[in-house]
Amino acid sequence: MQENNIRNNPNDNTLNNDPLTIGGHKFSSRFILGSGKYSLHLIEAAVRDAGAEIITLAVRRANTKEQENILDFIPEGVTLLPNTSGARNAQEAVRIARLARELGCGDFVKIEIMRDMKYLLPDNAETIKATEILAKEGFVVMPYMYPDLNVARDLVNAGAASIMPLASPIGSNKGLTTKEFIQILIDEIDLPIIVDAGIGAPSQACEAMEMGAAAIMANTALATAGDLPLMASAFRKAIEAGRQAYLSGLGRVLVRGAAASDPLTGFLRDE
């Protein structure tokens, strides 16, 4: 019987004394919310029900026809994380990042560089180049990448503030198809590993958090759900549950056989 497995009060643990630190900024939420592919009018409810403190945005040519601007729909105090989507190489990503900073909403940037429009896979080599340039310019650089330990080490050396490996192709909702390789990053890289892209269900988010991921980024899972704010709430709980399980340490798995949870003495029979 284990008597020493009560280490922390769970209510005191994950939320208050376990901040997520990215580039020196502390967050209590470990759920990074996307803002794409759904109504601007749902953003406030999504942020609230997700408990999110960071929301991603994209930069595009401005439109003179639409009068609504997404910034008017994001609650105050939420950190903006512009991405460099649309960039096909490091140079284009750097350009988009600088424009995003000029928009006047902070120094965070999620680098996203794609050459392939069918699978939307990130170009790791160009991502390293862009990370190095932008980190030197003072950005808090959060590179989206295909999970590869060597690349992750290069990103650390290039000045990344976190590493954002994909779970499966963007928008696929397929879950942790790269699980083994994300686990390697979690075990070997001394930066927050934020699982991005492909997480489709709260159970998958929970699993990634149990593995030791620092946070989860999700967009399509919510945008394509039946009830977006309700799914945001479900993700929040799953991410918190996964984090608490990770902090607790999961129980062991038996290779074979069984282990009774009940006493093996005092049965109601004479033998």
Binding site: G34, S35, G36, K37, Y38, L40, I43, T56, L57, A58, V59, R60, R61, A62, N63, T64, K65, Q67, N69, I70, L71, L80, P82, N83, S85, R95, R98, L99, A100, E102, L103, G104, C105, I170, G171, A197, M217, N219, T220
Partner: protein
Amino acid sequence: MIKVNGIPVEAEGKTILEYLETTNYDKKRIAIERNGEIVPKALYESTMLNDGDTLEVVSFVGGG
């Protein structure tokens, strides 16, 4: 003629600020690149648009 987000526009001889005032762009919510260089907001008033200039006017939209 200048180009704004790829579209030809007659705005040469105007400052960026004068040009913006002829449009519906929300000045607080945009960033501008002129010929590939970012123009800080403080310089909209003093930056003259010349024939052949290319402007990119960008803003935030929803994304993941």
